[in-house]
């Protein structure tokens, strides 16, 4: 039986699912009857999540003048809307890393995704977009389709990756040729299945063809450029992907002056190290 996008999605439960606390926090944030303190009480049920949120509130993401030492203050700084994205980001790596195929370097994979998330967030900040954490989450999740491909196709997927690294053929091109769809299509559909908002799953689907996205052209353009930035800044320790061709339409959509780019790249670079320390914990020390 040939592999189809639908058949892979049908098996996606093998990747795992989010713990109940993620849904409880998301529901509480959306429910106007819940106060900030009550949302904070749910957060505090998970000490690891609590510690991580405090680190995020005290990181270069938020640049607070004074230390934030309580969950209530951390939530006030981060904002409840952005809390949803950060909680999802916090759990997604723990939940899905265990299912990685042996040939996929988990740490390098997440470092690329974190760099992409930070770059998305920085580009959105430069454009003064609201709720920049949703851009971070979008970047963090943009390559999840690769994980599902590796989990389900194993050797075929590993061969395509090797061929890409040795011969420089874009990975998404090989996937389209061999499967009829690519990891971006698959990842977007997976996130849609998880009921993440359109502003996240749509750009993930279109990050290698941003000009074709009629629903979320700005988000897709940001993700396309952030993917390129994150590869260019070289977070992986070797054998990494080549930078895919830049779609000039995506660059035009952003309306950003070239003069801000060096400063923007510098901010991404600095925030990347903070984000790795927060989201990859003990892996931070070895770069």
């Amino acid at each position: 039986m040939s592999v189809t996008l639908e058949s892979l999605l049908a098996n996606s439960e093998r990747l795992g699912s989010f713990p109940a606390i993620v849904h409880r926090i998301n529901d509480a944030v959306e429910d106007p009857r819940f106060s900030l303190d009550e949302v904070g009480q749910i957060v505090q049920e998970d000490p690891v999540l609590s510690a991580r949120l405090l680190r995020i509130a005290n990181s270069s993401f938020y640049s607070q003048r004074f230390p934030i030492d309580t969950i209530a203050r951390a939530l006030a700084v981060i904002g409840t809307k952005q809390l949803k994205e950060l909680v999802t980001a916090t759990y997604v790596m723990n939940t899905f890393s265990a299912q990685f195929h042996n040939d996929l370097d988990t740490k390098s994979f997440w470092k690329h995704c974190i760099a992409c998330g930070v770059a998305c967030r920085a580009l959105a900040t430069a454009r003064r977009e609201a709720n920049v954490e949703r851009f971070y989450l979008m970047g963090l999740l943009h390559d999840l389709g690769k994980v599902l491909l590796f989990t389900e196709l194993g050797d075929q997927s590993a061969k395509m990756l090797k061929n890409h690294q040795q011969n420089g053929i874009p990975l998404y091109q090989m996937e389209r040729d061999q499967l009829g769809f690519d990891h971006a299509d698959l990842g977007g559909r997976l996130l849609e299945r998880w009921k993440l908002p359109m502003e996240i799953h749509q750009p993930v689907s279109y990050h290698h063809k941003p000009a074709e996205d009629a629903e979320c052209p700005l988000e897709s353009a940001i993700l396309h450029l952030a993917d390129i930035i994150s590869i260019g800044l070289r977070p992986g320790s070797g054998g990494q992907a080549l930078i895919p061709p830049l779609n000039n339409d995506a660059w035009q959509v952003l309306h950003l002056p070239t003069s801000i780019l060096p400063e923007l790249f510098n901010i991404i670079r600095l925030q990347y190290f903070d984000a790795v320390a927060i989201f990859l914990d003990d892996h931070a020390a070895d770069g």
């Binding site: 993401f61 977070p235 080549l242 070239t258 510098n266 670079r269 903070d274």
Partner: protein, 114 residues
């Protein structure tokens, strides 16, 4: 040198206020945040603002390092595109992220106190 105008980062955060005396520490912070120019007051004249280029801003390592790796990484890119040009130049000037965080300095944790 005295600063003529506030220096802010990309997100508008104040790094150093106008009328402050610029010290070596400030220059290090500006470089960390990618600021390569600042307006300073002329020392003994009433002439207009002077834009001073900060010396060697951003040059953390030499251009030659990792050039083959970068050539390979950017092989599908149009090197004349302004975005790619800036990214390549930045990548040439900075160590790969995989090499770890730069030495601890003011601004490294994002909390710049002047």
């Amino acid at each position: 040198m005295t600063l003529a105008q506030d220096v802010r980062d990309l997100s508008g955060r104040l790094l150093l206020a106008a009328d402050s005396e610029i010290t070596d520490k400030h220059l290090r912070i500006f470089r960390t945040w990618g600021i390569s120019e600042a307006d300073v007051l002329p020392q003994q004249s009433d002439s207009p603002l002077v834009a001073v280029e900060l010396d060697n801003a951003g040059t953390e390592s030499n251009l030659a390092s990792g050039s083959d790796e970068l050539k390979e990484l950017f092989r599908h890119c149009d090197h004349n595109h302004p975005f790619i040009k800036e990214l390549l130049q930045f990548a040439q000037l900075h160590e790969p992220l995989a090499n770890g965080a730069p030495p601890k300095s003011a601004g490294n944790d994002g909390k710049v106190s002047l």
